[in-house]
C-alpha cells in the first residue's frame, strides 16, 4: 500500500472526521481432487472519510488516493453529513474524544513464498491425503490469506497503522457410505502470512489423520435423538456460542435496536462459573487470532468483560453507542474494506476456562452428546440461537459412543448459560471465523468445553 501522510489533510476537516487509507490483499488457491480449480489473488485499496455533524454521519470513499481525490472524499463525506443533519437535526451532542496512537505490523520477516511454492505445499498435502486415506471419494484443499493494512487519522488526533494478516488452510474430506456422501471439513491456520503460519506440510499430517478418522466414524454414525439433552459443547461450539448467541446481543448497536440483553445489565444471566470476554489483542499472555490495538474510530482497544461470574457487566461500543448509553468506549468499531464505515464488531470473543477435566465431564453424563464441531451459527435479538453441528459423539454411561450424523442445536442463550454445570480447564481458539453484519469481518472465537443442556434437532 502507498502510505501517505494523512495529517496534512487535517486542514480540510470542518467537523469530527475520520480519514482511513486501507488495502485488503487476498490469496486463494483451491485444489479439488488434485486439480487447481482456483488460482487467484486480489488487492483492493482506497481512501474513505467519515464525518459526524450534530448526530448525523456522512461517508465517502474512492479507490483513487491522489491528494485531489482525498480532498474530494473529505468534502463529499462532509456534504453528506450536512445533507442529513440539516434534515434530521438529531442534536446528539459531541462524541467521546479518543486519540490513540499505535503502529502494529504482523507482516512476515521471512522471504516471501512464490505462488508456485504455495501450490507445491498443496501438492504435498494432497499427495499425502491420497496415499494415506484411500477410502475418500473426494478431497478439497484451499489456502486462503487476507492481509488488512490500515492507516487512520482522525480530527481528535488519533493516528494508527496496522497490518493484520490471517492465513488458513481449509480441508474438506468426503467419503461415500451406502451410496450416500458424508463430508467433514477442518480449518487450520492463524494470525500471520503464509510463511509464518504454514512452515512444513508434515506438521499437519497428524491433524489430517484425526480428521479422516472422525469422518469414517461419522459415516458409520447414527442420527441423534431429538429433544433436550445433557451435552458437552467442545471449544469450537463454545466459541460460536460466545460470539453468536451472547456476543451479538451485547453489541451496543444491537442493544440500542432492542436486543433482550439491554434489560439484563447488572443481572445474573449465566451460571456463576461463566465469564465471557471480548479480548482486544492479547489473552492469557498470548496474541489473539485477530488482534486489534486501535479501532477504526481511533479508540484504544480494551478487553470487554461482558459476563463476569455469571453477571452481565458490559456491552461493546463504538463512539456513538457509548454516547447513547453513557458508557465508556471499548474500541469495537471496525470496518472491513476502505469503502466500509466502522460498525460495532467483536474481536476475539471467548468463554474463560474453568476447573474441570474433559474426561470427568464426559464421565458425568449417562445419556447425552459430546458436540465437537459446528458448521455455522445464527442468533436472534431474543438470544435464541441455532448452530449446525457436523461432528459429535454419543455419550453413554459416561463414555463416548458412536459418532452422530449432522444435526442442529438450538436454545435461548441466556437460559442455556444457567444450565452450565462444568467448564474444562483448557481452551482453544478457532482461527477462520468471518462474521457477517452488513459487512464481513475476521473474528476470533474461543472457549473451553462446557457441560450444559441444549435442544437437538432431528427426525
Amino acid at each position: 500500500m502507498i502510505i501517505k501522510d494523512l495529517k496534512k489533510f487535517a486542514k480540510y476537516f470542518t467537523e469530527y472526521t475520520e480519514l482511513r487509507m486501507q488495502e485488503n490483499r487476498n490469496i486463494r488457491l483451491t485444489m479439488v481432487n488434485g486439480d487447481m480449480m482456483g488460482n487467484s489473488r486480489s488487492s483492493n485499496s482506497g481512501i474513505s472519510a467519515r464525518v459526524y455533524k450534530d448526530g448525523s454521519w456522512g461517508f465517502a470513499s474512492n479507490a483513487d488516493i491522489s491528494d485531489e481525490a482525498i480532498i474530494n472524499v473529505i468534502s463529499s463525506a462532509t456534504e453528506n453529513a450536512k445533507f442529513l443533519s440539516s434534515r434530521e437535526n438529531l442534536q446528539k451532542g459531541e462524541l467521546p474524544k479518543t486519540n490513540a496512537m499505535d503502529s502494529k505490523d504482523f507482516s512476515t520477516k521471512k522471504p516471501r513464498k512464490s505462488q508456485k511454492e504455495m501450490i507445491d505445499f498443496l501438492n504435498v498435502i494432497d499427495a499425502h491425503i491420497v496415499k494415506e486415506f484411500p477410502k475418500l471419494s473426494s478431497r478439497t484443499i484451499v489456502i486462503g490469506n487476507l492481509d488488512m493494512e490500515k492507516k487512520l487519522f482522525t480530527s481528535d488526533g488519533a493516528e494508527s497503522y496496522s497490518m493484520i494478516p490471517r492465513t488458513t488452510l481449509y480441508v474438506v474430506m468426503t467419503v461415500i457410505k451406502d451410496d450416500q456422501p458424508f463430508e467433514l471439513y477442518e480449518v487450520y491456520g492463524w494470525l500471520g502470512q503464509f510463511e509464518d503460519t504454514f512452515d512444513k506440510p508434515e506438521v499437519l499430517f497428524p491433524k489430517l489423520k484425526k480428521q479422516y478418522e472422525h469422518l469414517i466414524n461419522k459415516s458409520e454414525g447414527v442420527y441423534p435423538v431429538s429433544g433436550m439433552h445433557d451435552c458437552i459443547l467442545d471449544a469450537d461450539l463454545a466459541g460460536i456460542l460466545a460470539h453468536e448467541a451472547i456476543g451479538h446481543t451485547t453489541e451496543g448497536d444491537i442493544v440500542k435496536g432492542g436486543s433482550v440483553a439491554g434489560d439484563y445489565l447488572g443481572e445474573k444471566v449465566a451460571s456463576e462459573m461463566v465469564t465471557l470476554v471480548d479480548f482486544a489483542h492479547t489473552a492469557f499472555g498470548k496474541q489473539c487470532p485477530v488482534p486489534v490495538y486501535v479501532d477504526d474510530e481511533g479508540t484504544k482497544a480494551e478487553d470487554a468483560v461482558i459476563i463476569e461470574d455469571g453477571i452481565l457487566k458490559k456491552f461493546m461500543h463504538n463512539k456513538e453507542t457509548a454516547l447513547h448509553f453513557g458508557h465508556e468506549v471499548t474500541g469495537n468499531a471496525r470496518a472491513y474494506g476502505f469503502y466500509d464505515e466502522p460498525l460495532v464488531r467483536m474481536r476475539n470473543t471467548a468463554i474463560m476456562p474453568g476447573k474441570s477435566k474433559l474426561e470427568d465431564m464426559i464421565a458425568s453424563i449417562d445419556n447425552g452428546y459430546y458436540l465437537m464441531k459446528s458448521s455455522n451459527g445464527q442468533a436472534d435479538s431474543t438470544s435464541e440461537f441455532m448452530f449446525g453441528v457436523v461432528l459429535g459423539y454419543e455419550i453413554k454411561n459416561g463414555k463416548l459412543g458412536k459418532a452422530i450424523k449432522d444435526t442442529t442445536i438450538s436454545g435461548v442463550a441466556f437460559d442455556m448459560l444457567k444450565t452450565i454445570t462444568m467448564i474444562s480447564d483448557d481452551m482453544a481458539w478457532s482461527c477462520g471465523g468471518m462474521c457477517g453484519k452488513k459487512q464481513m469481518i475476521p473474528v476470533g472465537m474461543g472457549g473451553p468445553a462446557i457441560k450444559c443442556k441444549v435442544n437437538i434437532g432431528g427426525k
Binding site: R41, Q115, D253, G257, G258, V260, D406
Partner: protein
C-alpha cells in the same frame, strides 16, 4: 485512457507477456446509500469502486488477479504476475474462455439515482412504521442505488458492455414492549423506480405488523409430523438449498444429491422453477455470465423434472455435461391453484414458516433449523406465533411432498415466489 482503452491495454499486455488466452473484466460502481440505525436516519454514504480482473491461460494452466489501481505501471506489473501465476499452476483442459459472440451493449435504466426521492421515500416509510407500529423498532435500513458500468472482453473476441442501475431497500426490525422482545425479522425489495412507497411493496407491511404480535409467543408442545407452509420470504432459503446441488463443485466432486437426476423427477409435478436474469419480470438482472456468455432465461425444474444443472464453463468441460445458459438467481416459481386462505384452511396441523434459521443441508439432503417469526396452525386456523420450535426433514423427500402452491406470489424484485405447503416434515417443540 478511457475504460475500454484500459481494458484493451490490459489484454494486449497479458498477450505480450505470454498469455495464450485472456479474460479481462473492468467494473466501475457508484453507490449512494442512506442508512437507518435504531430508528434514526443516521448515515449518508457515497462510494466509488473499481475492479479490474485479469485472467491468463497458458498451456491449460490458469491464473487470475483483480486490482483497483488502473495506471499503466500497475497493469504492466500485474499482467506479469498473472502470467507467472498461470505458469506456476497445474494444467487442466477444463480451463478455457468463452467463444466469440456478437459484440453487444446492454443498458438498463435508471442510470442515476433520484437522491431527493430516496430521502423522501425513506422518511415516509419511517413515519409510517412509527405511526402504525409504535412497538416495532426499525433496527436497520440499508437503502441504496448502485450504478454499474462493466466491460468484458476476452482473446476470442468477446466484447460486452453493460450499463445499469438499481435501487435496493433492506429493512430489519424487532418489537419491544417492556422486557418483552420479539425475534428480529427482515425483508428486502429491489426496484428500478421509486414510484411506490415501500410500505406498499411486496409483503413489507404485513411482516411489520406481525412483529409486535410475536412479542407473545408460545412453544409447540412435543414433536409431530405435520405440514409446513413456507412463505415467499422464507422460500429463498429452500431454493438456495435445492440449487446449491446443481453448481460446479457438487457435480465435479460427485456430492450432489441430484447428480444422476437430470431429466428425472426431483419435485412434485406442480413445481416449476425458472431463472430469469434477463426478463423484465424480475427487477434485478445480469446480462453476461462470469465466463463471458450472454445470459438467457431458463427453466431449471419443469413439472418437477430437473431440466438443467447450473454448470459454468469449467464445470461443463470437467464433467462433460452441458453448460448452463445462466448462473441461476432471479428465481421465479410458478403460482398454483389454491389461495393462501384455502391452503391454511386445509391444514390440519402444522406451521407457517416465515424465517428459517438453520445451516445448509447435509450432503444427503437432511436439514434442521429453528422456525422464526412463524405461526402454529391447527384445524385450518392460525393459532399463535411460536418460539423455540425446530423443523427438520430431508430436502429430497420434501420436494416430492409438495401438497399445495398458492395463486398469490410476492415479487421482491430479486425473486417471485408463492406460498408452498410441504407435508411430512418433523416439527418439534422444547
Amino acid at each position: 485512457m478511457n475504460n475500454k482503452e484500459i481494458l484493451i491495454y490490459a489484454q494486449n499486455t497479458l498477450l505480450k507477456v505470454g498469455a495464450q488466452k485472456t479474460k479481462c473484466i473492468l467494473t466501475k460502481k457508484e453507490k449512494n446509500e442512506l442508512n437507518v440505525a435504531s430508528g434514526e436516519i443516521s448515515l449518508f454514504r457515497t462510494t466509488f469502486d473499481t475492479n479490474l480482473s485479469l485472467t491468463a491461460i497458458i498451456d491449460n494452466k490458469q491464473g487470475s488477479i483483480s486490482l483497483n489501481k488502473l495506471d499503466k505501471e500497475n497493469i504492466d506489473d500485474t499482467a506479469k504476475q498473472v502470467v507467472e501465476m498461470a505458469v506456476s499452476s497445474k494444467p487442466d483442459e477444463a480451463n478455457d474462455i468463452a467463444e466469440k459472440q456478437p459484440t453487444k451493449e446492454f443498458y438498463k435504466e435508471p442510470f442515476n439515482p433520484d437522491l431527493d426521492k430516496m430521502y423522501e421515500r425513506l422518511v415516509e416509510f419511517m413515519d409510517f412504521a412509527k405511526k402504525k407500529h409504535p412497538k416495532t423498532i426499525i433496527e436497520e435500513i440499508n437503502f441504496d442505488f448502485t450504478s454499474t458500468n462493466r466491460y468484458f472482453i476476452n482473446s476470442n473476441g468477446v466484447d460486452f458492455t453493460i450499463t445499469e442501475g438499481i435501487y435496493c431497500f433492506v429493512v430489519m426490525f424487532t418489537s419491544k414492549d417492556g422486557k418483552k422482545t420479539s425475534s428480529f425479522n427482515y425483508v428486502a425489495h429491489v426496484t428500478k423506480d421509486l414510484d411506490t412507497p415501500f410500505s406498499e411493496c411486496g409483503n413489507i407491511v404485513k411482516l411489520l405488523g406481525e412483529s409486535s404480535e410475536q412479542l407473545n409467543t408460545q412453544q409447540v408442545s412435543g414433536k409431530f409430523v405435520g405440514d409446513v407452509i413456507v412463505t415467499p420470504e422464507c422460500m429463498d432459503d429452500f431454493v438456495g438449498f435445492i440449487t446449491r446441488y446443481l453448481y460446479d463443485y457438487p457435480i465435479i466432486t460427485k456430492t450432489s444429491v441430484f447428480l444422476e437426476k437430470l431429466g428425472k423427477q426431483i419435485a412434485s409435478k406442480s413445481f416449476n422453477l425458472h431463472s430469469k436474469p434477463v426478463s423484465d419480470d424480475i427487477a434485478e438482472s445480469y446480462f453476461v455470465t462470469s465466463d463471458g456468455y450472454e445470459t438467457q432465461d431458463s427453466t431449471v425444474i419443469e413439472n418437477g423434472v430437473l431440466k438443467t444443472f447450473l454448470l459454468g464453463l469449467y464445470g461443463a468441460k470437467k464433467t462433460g455435461k452441458e453448460r448452463a445458459v445462466n448462473q441461476g438467481g432471479c428465481w421465479e416459481i410458478d403460482s398454483g391453484d389454491k389461495t393462501l386462505d384455502e391452503i391454511i384452511k386445509s391444514t390440519k396441523k402444522g406451521i407457517i414458516l416465515k424465517r428459517f434459521s438453520g445451516g445448509n443441508p447435509s450432503d444427503n439432503g437432511d436439514f434442521s433449523g429453528v422456525a422464526k417469526n412463524s405461526y402454529y396452525v391447527e384445524d385450518g386456523k392460525i393459532k399463535f406465533p411460536i418460539s423455540e420450535t425446530m423443523v427438520s426433514g430431508n430436502l429430497v423427500e420434501m420436494m416430492m411432498n409438495i401438497k399445495q402452491i398458492s395463486k398469490e406470489r410476492i415479487n421482491s424484485g430479486y425473486h417471485n415466489y408463492p406460498w408452498i405447503k410441504f407435508e411430512g416434515l418433523t416439527i418439534s417443540g422444547k
